[in-house]
Symmetry: C2
Subunit: 198 residues, 2 copies
């Protein structure tokens, strides 16, 4: 994921996201976050008066915004954008990530959902918002590529679902195959959705 | 999920799976599991000398076996089995589950992966085995339905990925839509894989 900003507050949110995606929410301690961020312990109370819940929610929100922001960046880098190529780029980011960190860390939004969906309503809502922040730019990009408007949002949901599931499976298996497979299998199907008249 | 068996040991494993899929692994305490199972506290040490790690791993293993076992059951209930119908049945189980429990609990294998993939190697391996126990009967069923043998395993991975991701998104959103969408979008694509000569 992106390098953290310079501001201590941003560094703390970024560090929280990194530890959540490695160990889950429950096992991530505030002390570890502060240490990871290289921030003074007192800064937590200063920036996050709502405690761990606020920090977790902001980390999840940050992750959703980050993932959503990547979509336009992926599309901008393509000579001939297509749904399958966009999905391949989304998958490639995780292939690179897992290759670099040896499957150490998965998706923080998934972690927040698994650990908090039933117990912490504000975190469930943050995870929901993060998925939406990720899905909306995908749907926009699909429309621009010629996917019929009535299919764009649901196709974006399918892409996100397949990616999130493959992230889980690849991480459990310590093997990139699940990610490679979904890109290869789903890509042509996605490209088949483009209206030839578009 | 299935009703627990009568044996105390089975009940404990089942209860562990239920609590893990609700709260994640880290937040699931042994005391809660014993209470949920209606088992005497001493039985934990008796049946699970390896402690929480052993119990979590057995719960994950149980979940993989349970999910894998459902596949043949789904296919047996279809007049004209097809990949899309199998996927719809897998999704329907989660639609029913979420409708019955108000999104209270997700997939225990996903929870184990998120919480333990980096920290507890034996649990990561159990999650990997559970995904395999789930995927293998899907691939077998797909081959029986006429999906070319070289595509069966990867199509099974795509189906599992899309389902796992949609479970996460639906649970975060407290909305069945993601599950309904992946069934509707992916189903026809899956049916298109069947060799017409089969």
């Amino acid at each position: 994921m992106a390098a953290p900003g310079r501001r201590p507050r941003d560094r703390i949110v970024f560090s929280a996201a990194q530890l959540i995606r490695r160990d889950g929410v429950a096992a991530t301690g505030l002390r570890d976050v502060v240490e990871h961020a290289g921030a003074p312990r007192g800064s937590l109370q200063h920036y996050f008066p709502g405690g761990k819940e606020q920090l977790v929610n902001e980390a999840v929100e940050w992750a959703g915004g980050y993932a959503g922001g990547r979509i336009a960046w992926f599309v901008a880098g393509m000579r001939r954008p297509s749904p399958g190529r966009l999905f391949a780029a989304m998958v490639q980011q995780w292939l690179d990530d897992f290759s670099a960190n040896d499957f150490q860390a998965g998706c923080p939004v998934a972690a927040a959902t698994v650990d908090c969906a039933d117990g912490v309503e504000s975190t469930r809502a943050a995870a929901s918002a993060a998925f939406q922040a990720w899905r909306a730019p995908i749907a926009d990009a699909l429309r621009d590529m010629g996917v019929p408007a009535r299919r764009a949002a649901s196709t974006a949901t399918l892409m996100l679902s397949a990616l999130e599931g493959a992230i889980l499976i690849a991480r459990a298996e310590h093997d990139l195959r699940a990610l490679q497979v979904v890109a290869r299998e789903l890509g042509p199907m996605l490209d088949g959705l483009v209206d030839p008249a578009s």
